[in-house]
Assembly symmetry: C2
Homo-oligomer: 491 residues x 2
C-alpha cells in the first residue's frame, strides 16, 4: 500500500468520536479544506460538496420561483449607521461582524460591516419600492455568503465564520398574508430535508425568548444528529410590523389610506450539508442520497488481461445507456487501480449505487448492483437496466430516509419533571418533551446543568397542551402548563 492508500480510509469511530469522525469524512471525501493560516473559521468548499449545494440550490430556488419569489443582489457591505438603526429598534441584535475601515489607501469615513444578514440594507429598499397595495406582496431573495465572527470551534458547514445561504425578505398587506408566507417557506425547507436530503425533521416555533430579534414569530425545522443533538435546519420569521415601522414600509391601500406593511424573512444555509453528511455517512466514508449525489452510479469493471476488451465494451454500453436516460453515471476504467481499491474509493466518496461487471456477468447478460448504505448486493439482468437502476436508486433513498426516521422516532421521549428531563437528556440525548409554562426562567435550570435548551414548541394546532381544560403543570415550576417544550442539546 502506498501512503495514498493508507490515507484513504476513515479511522475514527462515528459513535464514539462523532466530531473527529465527521471532520475526517469531510476531509477525506474531498468535501472541504480548512482556510489558510490566519483565517481559522473559514473553509474552502471543494467541488464535491459544492455540487451538492448546487443541487440543493436548484431544488429550493425552483420552489421559490414557482411561488412568486424573485432573486436580487444587494451589496456585500452595510454602513454602520444602518446596523445601528436595526440595533435601536431590535433589542438584542448585536452581531459579531467583520468591519471594513480602510479601502484603497484611505480610512473610510464610516465603517462598513461585511453583511451578517441583510435586513437592515434590504428593508429600506423595499420601503422605496412599495407604494401601493398593488406592489404587495413583494418578495426578494438572495443567494450569497454572510460573515459572523463567532469565536467557537470550526466545524465545516455547521460552524464557520463565513457561510453560504439564501435570505428571503418579503412585505405583505396583512398579518395573515405574512403568516401564510412564513409557513410556505417553512414547508419548502421541510421539503428540502425530507424530499431531497432524506432527512426527516420536526417543525414548530422557537420559544418567544429565542425568536429572531424583533420578530413576531420564528418558525424552525429541527434535525436530529447521530450524537443526539438537534440542529436548527432553517428558520422562517414572521417579523410582524417592527421592521416595517423602523424602515417605513407603508402602502396606499385600496381606500387610499396609508397602511404599515407586515414583513417576513427566511433563510437556509449550508448547515443543511453538514446535517446531510453527518446523518447518513458511516465508517466507510460519505453516504449521499441519489437525489444530490454528483455521481449516482459508478460502474467498476473487473477484468483479466484476456477479458478486458469484452468487459470494458459491455460496461461502456451500459454507461452510455444510463447516461442517455439522464442517470449520472461514471465508468471507472482506471488501469492503474484494482477493483478493491476502486470499491473503497467510491464508498469513501459516497456514490449511492455500484455496478460490478466481470466476465461472468458479460457471459450471462447480467450485472451486480451494490447499495452504498448497507452493502446489499443484487444480480440483475442487463436488459431493462435503466428501469432497474432507477428502482434501486429510489430504494436507496427510501432506506436512508427510513433509517433516519426510525432514529428520530425513537429519540423523542417524554418527561414531566426537571430530574427526568436532565436524566433522559443525559442518558439518551435526542428530544425530551415536557409541559411548560412558557417562561424563559424555566429553561434556565436545564441550560445551566447541560448545554441543552428548548429548541422548539409545536405549532398550536399540533400541541395538545393548547386545549382548554387540560390540567398539566410546568415540569419545572409547576404553574399551569401552556405549551409542550422540546428540550435538546444543540450545536
Amino acid at each position: 500500500m502506498t501512503d495514498d492508500d493508507q490515507e484513504l480510509g476513515i479511522t475514527e469511530s462515528k459513535s464514539h468520536n462523532t466530531g473527529e469522525w465527521y471532520a475526517e469524512v469531510v476531509r477525506k471525501a474531498g468535501l472541504a479544506d480548512y482556510g489558510p493560516e490566519g483565517m481559522s473559521g473559514f473553509i474552502v468548499t471543494r467541488p464535491r460538496a459544492y455540487a451538492v449545494w448546487e443541487r440543493l440550490q436548484s431544488f429550493l430556488d425552483a420552489k421559490f420561483k414557482s411561488t412568486g419569489v424573485q432573486n436580487a443582489y444587494f451589496p456585500l457591505f452595510i454602513p454602520e449607521s444602518y446596523l445601528e438603526r436595526e440595533k435601536e429598534i431590535v433589542e438584542g441584535f448585536d452581531p459579531e461582524v467583520a468591519w471594513v475601515s480602510e479601502a484603497g489607501t484611505k480610512e473610510l469615513e464610516e465603517r462598513l460591516a461585511v453583511r451578517p444578514t441583510s435586513e437592515s440594507i434590504i428593508t429600506p429598499y423595499i420601503s422605496g419600492w412599495v407604494r401601493s397595495h398593488r406592489d404587495l406582496p413583494l418578495r426578494v431573495n438572495q443567494w450569497c455568503s454572510v460573515v459572523r465572527w463567532e469565536a467557537t470551534e470550526t466545524k465545516p458547514f455547521f460552524r464557520t465564520k463565513e457561510f453560504l445561504w439564501q435570505e428571503g425578505h418579503t412585505a405583505h398587506a396583512t398579518h395573515e398574508d405574512a403568516w401564510e408566507e412564513t409557513l410556505t417557506r417553512l414547508d419548502q425547507y421541510e421539503s428540502v430535508y425530507e424530499d431531497l436530503l432524506a432527512l426527516p425533521v420536526l417543525r414548530g416555533q422557537k420559544p418567544d425568548h429565542d425568536k429572531f430579534p424583533g420578530a413576531h414569530t420564528t418558525t424552525t425545522v429541527e434535525a436530529l444528529m447521530p450524537d443526539g443533538k438537534s440542529v436548527q435546519g432553517a428558520t422562517s420569521h414572521h417579523l410582524g410590523q417592527s421592521f416595517a415601522e423602523a424602515f417605513d414600509i407603508t402602502y396606499a391601500d385600496e381606500d387610499e389610506e396609508e397602511r404599515l406593511a407586515h414583513t417576513t424573512s427566511w433563510g437556509l444555509s449550508w448547515r443543511a450539508l453538514g446535517a446531510l453528511i453527518m446523518t447518513h455517512s458511516d465508517e466507510q466514508g460519505l453516504v449521499l442520497p441519489p437525489t444530490v449525489a454528483p455521481e449516482q452510479v459508478v460502474i467498476v469493471p473487473i477484468w483479466q488481461e484476456e477479458t478486458k476488451d469484452e468487459v470494458l465494451s459491455y460496461a461502456e454500453d451500459i454507461a452510455e445507456e444510463l447516461s442517455d436516460a439522464g442517470v449520472r453515471v461514471e465508468l471507472d476504467d482506471r488501469d492503474e487501480r484494482n477493483p478493491g481499491f476502486k470499491f473503497n474509493d467510491h464508498e469513501l466518496h459516497g456514490v449511492p449505487l455500484r455496478i460490478e461487471i466481470g466476465p461472468h456477468e458479460v457471459a450471462d447478460g447480467e450485472l451486480t448492483l451494490v447499495h452504498r448504505p448497507d452493502g446489499e448486493s443484487v444480480v440483475a439482468d442487463r436488459e431493462g437496466i435503466v428501469g432497474t437502476v432507477e428502482e434501486h436508486l429510489e430504494t436507496i433513498y427510501a432506506k436512508l430516509y427510513a433509517a433516519a426516521e426510525e432514529t428520530l422516532d425513537g429519540a423523542v421521549r417524554e418527561a414531566d419533571d426537571r430530574a427526568s428531563i436532565l436524566g433522559t437528556l443525559g442518558q439518551h440525548g435526542g428530544y425530551v418533551t415536557a409541559p411548560w409554562c412558557g417562561e424563559e426562567a424555566c429553561e434556565e435550570p436545564i441550560k445551566e446543568a447541560m448545554a441543552a435548551e428548548i429548541v422548539m414548541v409545536p405549532f398550536e394546532d399540533d400541541d395538545p397542551l393548547v386545549d382548554e381544560g387540560h390540567d398539566e403543570t410546568c415540569a419545572i415550576c409547576e404553574e399551569p402548563a401552556t405549551r409542550t417544550a422540546y428540550f435538546a442539546k444543540t450545536y
Copy 2:
C-alpha cells in the same frame, strides 16, 4: 397623468448624452438602484437585471460543465501576506482593496483583504490538490462577487466597487494544454456575446504591456458601445508557469519526474449586462433579446366593457398555450391601466414581443404581433400561434444582432500614421487599425492625446502583418511593423 406616468418615459438622448441616457434606462426599467449613502460605487441589482444575469450564468455554466469545469467556493477574505506574495512575483499587481482589520470586538493580527480576485488564495490550494499527472488538468470555477476600490465614477454594471463575476482557475501538464484551455474559454465568452446577448465581438489578445500581471498571454473579447468606445467583454489568461512557480504547483509525470504545471485563469463579469443594455436599448427604454428577457412576450388585451369577457378569455387561452410550450409570457390584464400605458410600460421594460388582442382580432381568429426593437407590426392567425411566436422571437434576435453587426463592421477603420489615428478616433470613435512595432512607447502619444489605447491585437493567424515579407512600418515610429494594433477609446 399622475406623477408616476410622467416619470415613466426616458427623457435623455441616446446619441447625445449616452451616459445620462444609460443611467436613466437602468433606473427606470427597474434594473438597479444606487447603493446607500456612504456607499457610492455600490449598486443594488434588482430582480429584472438579476434574472438576466441568472440566464447568462446558466448558459455559461452549462458550457463550463460540459468542458470539464467544476464549481467550488473559496473564502471571501485573503490574508494580506497572500496578496503580498502575489505582488512579489507579479510585478504591477497592486489592487485597490478593502481591508478588514477589526472583527467582533478585536483587532485582527493580520489584515484581511476582501477578494479583488482569487489567484492568490486558489493557487495554493490547487498546489495541494495536484500530485500526479493524473490530477491534471484540474479546473475550478467560482461564481462570486469581488471588490475593487476604484475611485472612478459609478456606472451600473460597467464600473462598480463590488461586482458579480465568475473566475476560473486551471492547471495543466503542458504549455499547449493551457493554451487550448485559454482559447476554449475565450470561445465560450464569445458565444455568450454572440449567441445569447446578440452582440458581435472582436477577439484577440492584449498587447504585452497590458496583459494580466504575470500572465504569458491575455486574450480578450471586445464589444463596441454606441458611443464608439470599446468594452473589454471578458478575458482569458494563459498564465504560463509564473503562478505555478510562485505557489509551487508541481506534479509527478509519467516518468516519475517532478514537473512544474502551467496555469490559466479567466473571468466574465456583469459588465456583460452593461454592454447588453447599452447596445440594444433606445429612447423608449430597455431592449432585450428574447434569449435573456424575463418575459419574452406580453399580451395586451384591448377591451370595452361589453367585449371584456370574450377578449380576456381569448387572451388567456393564448397565454396558456404559449406558456405550456415553454414561452415566457405575461398577460397584462390590469384593470386600472389603459392599453397605451401598458404599451409604454412594456417597451420601457424591454419585453421583446407584444401581442395585441382586441374584439376584431377575436372575431377574425387573429392577433397582432409587435416587435419591440423597431415597432414592426404583423397580423397573424390564432392557429399555430406557438410556431408563429417562436419564429418572431428568432427574427427579433436576428434583427438585434444584425444591427449591432452593421455598426461594428462600419466602425473598424484603417490608418497608417499618428495624425490619421487621432483624427479618425476623434471624428468617428470605433476601432482604428494600424501597423505597429509592438513597443508600448508607440501607444503613448495616442494615449496622451485622448483616452484611447490599443485594446487588442488580432491573433497571429488572423493578422496579415505576421506574414514574412510584408514591408509595412509602424504608424508611429516607422520601424518595421510586426502586428496590427486596434486603437479605441475605452470605459
